[in-house]
Subunit: 224 residues, 2 copies
DNA sequence: ATCTTTTCTGACTACTTAATCAGTTAAACC
DNA sequence: GGTTTAACTGATTAAGTAGTCAGAAAAGAT
């Protein structure tokens, strides 16, 4: 009855499940799990309410499917650190990507925020395993950079939290930001300025250096 | 019937309203407005459900009263900028105070976050007036500092948002932070390290200088 | 001690909403 | 074109929840 949901694209099934998930993501982000009704999702997806239960057995399952979709997107941004051994480039790339996601898919970030605020009832397993491991491998990299003098000796977790907090703030608190922007949406130029300023503040803040030995060489050369 | 709620302390009324507000703050923070039931607040406050309606006419009024209490606390921290003309001291003090609040009253921050994520249905008026004016007076101060060379030329709003985002992250995302801290609560030493690291990163990031002319003098002296 | 006001609460009402299901329509296949 | 499978949906059920209210209990005043 409810199989091969994501297989062959552009069937009735795939079109409807996508429409429902898109609608659900917006509703859950804006009203939380409890505050969202099947009826409101149905209305937004332009389908009758019983149809939601036809494709997804329950509100809970629909919510979890939503959350899983968000994970996949976020994992992509995390790859910035994977192969790049230059803190300046790696941080800049990661911050830029996360700000792009905050701009393009703020709902995902909001659902995540809601989840964590409420003690991660649905995602706890993911936090304790996937995120825990990813974070530890990144902080290990930060420590390596610190031992090479390419990063200031501050707690590596704090660096990550500041980046997460700041980049996600532009999704989660966008309503507040818009009010403080005289009620106007952030335009293209403002987003570019934000990316540039956040990168500049973080890079200077954590003392990121592209290559310490290279810099030393340069200094030596200047000295000659 | 429902007057002088906060007047004479330690009456039955004041004790009960405080108990209800404390319980409501925790419940609203953890489950959002919709997700919180009068029954759960009553249970936490150890009072029968009908009692909540006796003191507060409705769930909505109780929620608004909660939100107003949070405002008062936050306003206190904002005073750090009011009289101090030294960016290093002012930023350090503000960040430290906000982190203290995140530690001591995380519920308030969570309720605020929930509100903004959902488009600030209750606080919009406050945002558009009080916060708007406060923010503008602070960014004006930042611009003054920038013109004196005591602050790097980045968008002043971005500086504020980074501070808000980071300090509130330690309240709103505490659950995630605890998981990544091997499931353990942050201890006294860790909180001190966070304060110190966040101040250090922000101050270096925005290029805050206590007094540019004083530094010049020092440099001149060294040159002699 | 009696009266008045405040505090309190069990029982009830009106409403919302997730989930079910029986039966209908549409699509796919042979 | 007939048969099977998938898609759909109106009507109903069951559970939960905000808010009401009449009257009891306690506190306070005289």
């Amino acid at each position: 009855m409810n199989r091969n949901s994501i297989l062959r694209p552009d069937t009735v099934r795939s079109r409807n499940t996508t429409a429902i998930l898109d609608a659900a993501e917006l509703e859950f982000a804006e009203h939380g799990f409890k505050g969202t009704t099947i009826a409101s999702i149905a209305k937004r997806a332009k389908l009758p309410p019983a149809n939601i239960h036809y494709y997804f057995g329950s509100k809970e399952i629909l919510y979890q499917t939503c959350v899983e979709r968000i994970f996949d997107i976020w994992k992509g941004a995390a790859e910035a650190f994977d192969e790049i051994d230059d803190p300046v480039v790696a941080f800049s790339l990661y911050i830029t990507r996360k700000l792009d996601i905050s701009r393009e898919r703020p709902s995902g970030s909001k659902i995540w925020a809601n989840e964590i605020i409420q003690g991660a009832p649905t995602m706890h397993a993911f936090l304790a395993k996937d995120l825990y491991e990813w974070t530890n491998s990144r902080t290990a990299l930060f420590r390596k950079w610190q031992s090479e003098g390419r990063l200031k000796p501050v707690n590596p977790n704090t660096i990550l939290y500041m980046i997460w907090a700041t980049t996600q703030h532009y999704a989660d608190f966008y309503h507040q930001i818009r009010v403080l922007n005289d009620g106007k949406e952030l335009d293209e130029a403002q987003w570019e300025e934000i990316k540039s300023d956040v990168c500049s503040i973080i890079l200077a803040g954590v003392g990121a250096k592209s290559d310490f030995s290279a810099k030393q060489v340069q200094v030596d050369q200047t000295a000659k």
